[in-house]
């Protein structure tokens, strides 16, 4: 049993609602918890990890409530976002003591195995205080994996990692997910989750904005209305030609160039180049104006 179930879960602090009526079911494989900063991802992760009580609703991990139930940590591993580890221990001591706290039969062997999985064997005898942020992140993963948990929860696991470490972590999580474990990771970076997760849960302003297969949600994101800034050799002429196209819903001639609202991202990007060529206009620049994650999420909430 390794599924995570949330039924109408809400969490509020006084008058502030951090998580609002979320229902979701997370099974084996890698699931991404995606949303802008401050959306409530960490709150959801803390609720699932048993470090926060739901104000309302029901939350279970492997069929049992996680709040006030330390026994769930026999099957759950947690990698918290906060970079606070016992810095005075060596990496090996940290992972081995975690194994002892889990009362494993052979803590040194379990620590060796987990450290190897996290690719930290070379630095295991150094004090954690000498580690880079990425190394600290990996030693936390090793500690979270030491008891071979069926569920692994990671809060922003790629923070502070360099590209090589990031790739290694992605491979590791993909492998763990393929083994049938339930891996839930939070991130505010679309591309990280895209490369990794089979399914995603998008959280915006404490609500579940979208849920399910990543590709379907990605399509929803790319076919939404877009705003572009276009600079060309003759903005006025290009604007008058563009306004006749069905993919374009609005145009504004500004000092910086043409601000174009496109109803269909795909159709607009295909038509623009051909149109410019036909009109003998040279395209100098094409910039997406509203590609911030917040605007993407805002669209998902509205749709």
């Amino acid at each position: 049993m390794s599924s995570i179930e949330l039924q109408n879960v809400s969490r509020w602090y006084g008058n502030v609602v951090a998580v609002n009526d979320i229902t979701m079911s997370i099974g084996p494989g890698v699931t991404g918890l995606l949303g802008p900063n401050g959306a409530g991802k960490s709150t959801v992760l803390h609720l699932i990890a048993g470090f926060l009580a739901p104000s309302r609703g029901k939350l279970t991990v492997g069929g049992v409530p996680s709040w006030r139930n330390p026994d769930i940590y026999r099957t759950v591993g947690l990698v918290p976002e906060r970079d606070s580890v016992y810095a005075f221990l060596t990496g090996e001591e940290f992972v081995r003591s975690t194994a002892s706290l889990h009362q494993l039969a052979d803590p040194p062997a379990a620590a060796r195995r987990a450290i190897a999985i996290a690719d930290m064997a070379q630095a295991q005898d150094r004090k954690i205080s000498t580690y880079s942020k990425g190394m600290r992140q990996r030693i936390k993963v090793a500690a979270a994996l030491v008891h071979d948990p069926q569920v692994l929860l990671l809060d922003e696991p790629f923070n502070g990692m360099d590209p090589r470490q990031r790739l290694h972590m992605m491979d590791l999580l993909t492998k763990l997910g393929a083994e049938g474990r339930t891996i839930l990771l939070s991130s505010h970076i679309l591309e990280e989750v895209e490369q990794l997760a089979d399914t995603i849960q998008v959280i915006v302003s404490g609500r579940l904005a979208a849920s399910g297969d990543f590709r379907a949600i990605r399509r929803l994101m790319t076919s939404r209305p877009h705003v572009f800034l276009v600079r060309s050799s003759d903005d006025r002429r290009l604007g008058s030609a563009l306004i006749g196209r069905p993919a374009v819903t609005g145009i504004e001639l500004t000092r910086g160039g043409l601000q174009v609202q496109a109803a269909d991202f795909g159709a607009f990007s295909r038509e623009l180049a051909g149109l410019a060529r036909d009109q003998d206009i040279r395209l100098r620049e094409l910039l997406p104006e509203d590609e911030s994650l917040e605007s993407v999420f805002a669209y998902l909430v509205e749709s």
């Binding site: 502030v16 951090a18 960490s42 009580a53 330390p70 947690l78 606070s84 580890v85």
Partner: protein, 245 residues
């Protein structure tokens, strides 16, 4: 505190390494050094007619030196981990919360005994020029005080992130002022429990003990157990703040 609380050696060893790894550990030694220094000075000066060993080592020792050292140690064993967030690594394991509290409390109590009860014994021996009932009484009283104060300060660490400030106010206002001048407050003063135990052995009026041995022991046990049970309950509800919307 539930019945299945067990002393956890892994938690104890991490706690000890954490406590002595911080610069704050130097502070543990300052109050007992002051006590020993004052004792040596008074011994050399020999104030005429004053029963100073009981007053200084009992009253001053149990109302200032003992609680201040216990406060620094009691908040170090758990509060510092809560403050920097590293407690999450300990709490994300199946270790009983009652075991965490019990272990932290034991480590704090033993350290306080080493840093206060032993210096009290040594100071008592110096003051009375050799083995005496007063030295023994001060030693046992300080052992009892180390236990009760640590239970209170470990609880305070779980209740508030400002445990040191709150603990300092409690020591200065409750223990030193109210406990000494308001007779009704004596029954709720850890200093008075310690003095009650010390006086039962030393029989020294200069100790200014306001409680009998029985009252001191019964109240000491009640306060210790109540503090540990409440600390366990609050640690079981330890929450991480999420991202505010």
């Amino acid at each position: 505190m539930t019945m299945n609380a067990k002393f956890n050696t892994v938690v104890a060893s991490i706690t000890l390494r954490a406590v002595f790894g911080r610069k704050r550990a130097i502070l543990f030694a300052i109050p007992p050094l002051i006590l020993l220094l004052v004792t040596l000075l008074l011994k050399a000066a020999r104030p005429p007619g004053a029963p100073w060993p009981g007053r200084i080592l009992g009253d001053f020792g149990f109302s200032v030196i003992l609680p201040l050292t216990a406060l620094i140690i009691g908040t170090s064993v758990l509060g510092a981990e809560i403050d920097d967030g590293s407690i999450v690594h300990l709490l994300a394991t199946p270790v009983r919360r009652s075991s965490v509290i019990l272990t932290k409390f034991c480590v704090g109590a033993v350290l306080t005994m080493a840093f206060v009860a032993v210096p009290e014994l040594v100071a008592g021996l110096i003051a009375t020029s050799g083995a005496s009932k007063l030295a023994l009484g001060l030693f046992v009283g300080a052992l009892v005080g180390s236990v009760i104060y640590n239970a209170v300060f470990v609880m305070l660490s779980v209740l508030t992130t400002r445990a040191i400030a709150v603990g300092l106010l409690y020591v200065l206002i409750w223990e030193t002022v109210l406990g000494n001048f308001v007779s009704g407050a004596r029954v709720l003063s850890v200093e008075q429990y310690s003095l009650g135990v010390a006086n039962a052995i030393a029989h020294d009026k200069a100790l200014n003990a306001g409680l009998t041995l029985t009252t001191a022991l019964i109240m000491g046990v009640i306060v210790t157990i109540a503090a540990l049970v409440y600390a366990t309950r609050r640690l079981s509800e330890f929450s991480l703040k999420g991202d505010a919307v």
